[in-house]
């Protein structure tokens, strides 16, 4: 079975790294706080050690490993009769949504996404919602148009 062909924007990588950096800096602040407490109040060493380990893990995983793996995995393809998605880190999920089942398509854009010219598209059926994160703004717009017109063509009950 062939993989879906389209990839999401490379800017997604930068964005996800930024998210990672934000998460890491929060934990870094906590680490510094714990360090100060350990120094001032003679705390035992293990809280500092464990939180530093977490910090190192978050930095390596959330800034370096996860974004690139996630980006590499993310594929999507919109065909006349169906939408196919593939994503995941450790568990790779492949989803098939027939065009006749699509009820509406939304694009959304938070402040960070806007800064990078990206948008998330979410495709809703009567029972499920499927998201494609961090597409190029213009691409997302076009995709939304084409899906909604394709969905209108494909007619079926419920």
């Amino acid at each position: 079975m062939n993989e879906p062909t389209q990839r999401i924007s490379t800017r997604a990588l930068t964005l996800w790294r930024l998210y990672g950096i934000i998460q890491a800096s929060i934990i870094a602040l906590l680490t510094i706080g714990t360090g100060i407490f350990t120094y001032l109040f003679n705390w035992p060493l293990w809280p500092l050690l464990s939180i530093s380990t977490i910090l190192v893990l978050v930095i390596t995983l959330y800034i370096f490993v996860v974004p690139s793996v996630r980006w590499k995995r993310w594929r999507y393809e919109v065909r006349d009769q169906e939408i196919e998605l593939q994503y995941g880190l450790f568990i790779i999920t492949r989803t098939l949504v027939p065009m006749v089942r699509v009820q509406h398509v939304d694009t959304e854009q938070g402040p960070l996404l806007r800064k990078y010219g990206l948008a998330t598209i979410s495709i809703s059926t009567a029972a499920t919602t499927h998201k494609v994160p961090a597409l190029d703004e213009r691409e997302a717009e076009e995709l939304r148009h084409s899906i909604s017109s394709l969905a209108r063509v494909a007619e079926d009950d419920v």
Binding site: I92, T95, L96, A126, T128, V158
Partner: protein, 480 residues
């Protein structure tokens, strides 16, 4: 039907009782918590206050009844209510999916019913609900027939039509089945937790120090007496739950009526649920660990739309308890386009270890922790592992799938063996997932989501041959 009408006056009583039920805890609290405080007229204050509260609730019930009107106009069911803010709800008749009837103890003596209007999968949760607390039975029937006529597009004078329904009985549950269902149901757990909640709440209002002394005395009687008391309470709770289930399900019957399935049940409180055939998305057969060895199963209809009430899943049990071997024969009369007991393809042998791990890892972690923390008594917890291992083996043994023309069957088990049968054109989306390790072993899991109520329901089967998951996705793909 065309002029604005009020509900039956008994609605005011029902409203009052409903209000009372919501206010019972504050009322009890007011009376009990203040019982020792204040002399003279101050001591009466709590009673005055609760009297006032009762009066307000009573007035509220009456006003609610007075201000509530409904009628049919321009192809819409129109409901107006509210004292200060007038609320209008106009429901287009062709958006009404069905009317569900139920009769409580207040309804029975006056030949009344409560009508719940179910609309087809409204996106707004609050909009889905409209309720006529109590109207005359003939009126409800009239309304139902009128809706049917409008939907068929020929608006004759329906009031002239004969009263006899064209229903056709397709299934009736026997008393024996109802009793077996009651005995094997999990309802006992609900009653027990209800008793516990009641006890824990009741405690706060009881004179605790007096009871405390008594309890100390009791404790001297010894552990055994308390244990047997608890057992007795549990037994009584179980008995009550069995009785309630029998009452609730007695005379359970399924009818066919021009494109609808109608389920009625109940002895004291009659319930009627209508499911239009074209809203049915699929069926699910459940076999739990207690009923399966006895050869019994439950069949549930998965239907789109409907109201949001908590018991909707329960109300869609079209065959609440039935011999597994009988399902095919009986279901064929209710829904003829679902094929049961087709040969299924199982996951390959190399999946067994994954099924075992899936069920055992969490209990294993828990019992390891218990063994270390409560050594040596905690070691006993290791005994649960074989049980979970056995469950894992069962989930492996029972999992399977089948594709036949446009029908997909997925079977999975955790505690309950669930068989999903669905049509291709009812499946909202399908997915396959695969971890990195599974990829190496060429295994994958498959999932299909149906619309159910206002949400979705997913059927999943784990660790199938990767090739099979691709076959399933290809089956679901639009053929070109």
């Amino acid at each position: 039907m065309y002029e604005p009408k009020r509900l039956h006056p008994i609605s005011a009583v029902i409203n009052f009782i409903k209000g009372l039920k919501d206010a019972i805890l504050p009322l009890v609290a007011i009376v009990f918590l203040n019982s020792n405080r204040g002399e003279g007229w101050l001591g009466l204050l709590p009673f005055l206050f609760s009297g006032l509260l009762l009066l307000i609730i009573l007035a509220g019930g009456i006003i609610k009844w007075l201000r509530f009107t409904y009628w049919v106009e321009e192809g819409e069911l129109r409901i107006e209510h509210g004292l200060f803010v007038k609320k209008k709800r106009y429901i287009p008749i062709d958006r009404i999916q069905s009317l569900d009837f139920s009769e409580g103890i207040f309804h029975r003596p006056f030949q009344l019913v409560k009508v719940t209007v179910e609309t087809a999968g409204s996106s707004d949760a609050m909009e889905a609900e409209a309720e006529l607390t109590a109207i005359r039975k003939e009126e409800a029937k009239q309304l139902e027939r009128f809706i049917e006529e409008v939907k068929r597009g020929r608006q004759q004078d329906v009031e002239l039509e004969d009263d006899q329904p064209k229903r056709q009985l397709v299934y009736k549950m026997s008393m024996k089945e109802i009793v077996i269902m009651a005995l094997t149901s999990g309802g006992a757990g609900v009653v027990i937790s209800g008793v516990l909640v009641f006890l824990s709440q009741g405690m706060e209002f009881l004179p605790v120090d007096v009871i405390y002394d008594e309890v100390i005395d009791w404790l001297q009687f010894g552990f055994l007496i308390i244990a047997s008391l608890i057992m007795l309470v549990l037994l009584i709770a179980y008995g009550i739950s069995v009785l309630l289930t029998v009452l609730r399900y007695s005379q359970f019957s399924v009818f066919h009526d021009s494109g609808d399935i109608i389920m009625t049940r109940g002895l004291l409180e009659k319930k009627q649920v209508t499911v239009p055939l074209n809203r049915i998305q699929g069926i699910r057969i459940d076999e739990n660990l207690i009923r399966e060895p006895l050869g019994f199963a439950t069949v549930t209809i998965i239907s789109a739309g409907g109201s949001l009430k908590g018991d909707s899943d329960q109300s869609l049990r079209v065959l609440p308890l039935i011999k597994r071997t009988e399902i095919d024969r009986v279901l064929r009369r209710i829904l003829d386009d679902y094929q049961l007991d087709l040969p299924v393809k199982r996951p390959p042998k190399r999946s067994l270890i994954r099924y075992l791990l899936r069920l055992v890892w969490l209990p294993a972690a828990a019992s390891t922790a218990a063994s270390i923390l409560f050594y040596p008594l905690g070691l006993l917890s290791l005994l649960v592992l074989p049980v979970f291992g056995w469950l894992g083996y069962l989930s492996f043994k029972h999992a399977g799938w089948n594709v036949e023309n446009y029908q997909l069957t997925l079977i999975r088990r955790f505690f309950v063996k669930q068989t999903y049968i669905m049509k291709k054109f009812r499946i909202q989306s399908m997915h396959k997932d695969q971890s990195v390790f599974q990829k190496r072993a060429q295994l994958g899991s498959i999932g299909a989501t149906l619309k159910s109520g206002i949400g979705g329901e997913s059927a999943r089967v784990w660790y199938l041959e990767e090739e099979d998951t691709h076959k399933l996705l290809d089956w679901y793909r639009h053929e070109t």
